[in-house]
Symmetry: C2
């Protein structure tokens, strides 16, 4: 297991432990994690802190050059909002834990030149499958359904 995907999974598990939606993300630059986060819809009553957004926020204000060289790891295929953030900052590489429980805007990202590496990670899928089965309403709220 890639240490960075493992860190994203650790974030997802931390979110679950807090009573939240188990999606985690880390932003990696130059071989180091410079931002990490997880979905905070429940914890912060937040409509915008998806895992990826939380990682980007926690990374702080960065020069464009850092984003261009960074890789974003996320346990789940990024939704339209998180994909939009990826495009805004010109992040070129995204590693995705799985896209079978939710398919995000992967086509849009590829069309704009973002390189995606999609895993079929059993841990990521298990976290989401159990969560969606347990709290379908909360999950639907998170993806605007």
């Amino acid at each position: 297991m890639d240490v960075f995907m493992q860190a994203a999974i650790d974030e997802a598990r931390l979110g679950l432990k807090e009573g939240g939606i188990p999606i985690g993300s880390v932003l990696v630059h130059d071989g180091k994690i410079i931002g990490r986060g997880h979905n905070r819809r429940v914890q912060n009553a937040s409509a915008i802190l998806h895992g990826e957004m939380d990682a980007l926020e926690n990374a702080g204000r960065l020069p464009a050059s850092v984003y261009r060289e960074a890789t974003l790891y996320t346990t789940l295929s990024p939704c339209a909002m998180c994909s939009g953030a990826i495009l805004l900052y010109g992040i070129r590489h995204v590693v995705i834990g799985e896209h079978s429980t939710f398919m995000g805007e992967e086509k849009l990202l590829r069309d704009r030149g973002v390189q995606l590496q999609v895993h079929d990670d059993a841990t990521c899928k298990d976290l989401m499958q159990k969560f969606i089965a347990a709290q379908p309403q909360l999950w639907n709220e998170d993806i605007g359904h």
Copy 2:
């Protein structure tokens, strides 16, 4: 002047007064403002709190049905991130103060069925033109350049 666009402009001016980037937004539902905000890059050292994102965050967790009936007002054409948030939540109507200082993802939004009303508002343009001239580096940071 539309009272809701005026409220978005008031938010932009508040942001400027705080030393921030003068972009404001309000989310309107059923004739009332249910969320308002402005860019907080400087104030909160935030990479994700664009005006529209701040308005969505301040509106709190909402049922999908509210977003579908809501209108988002923003003083400036929404960037990829904010457009992605609009798509995530299925907001169908967006009113834009101006798009001459920055053209956001209007084509993507229209292609996905979002109805845009674009004004050529002199106040919105004046706020941005003066800000960009005064602080080009900060502006470039905000749009990932």
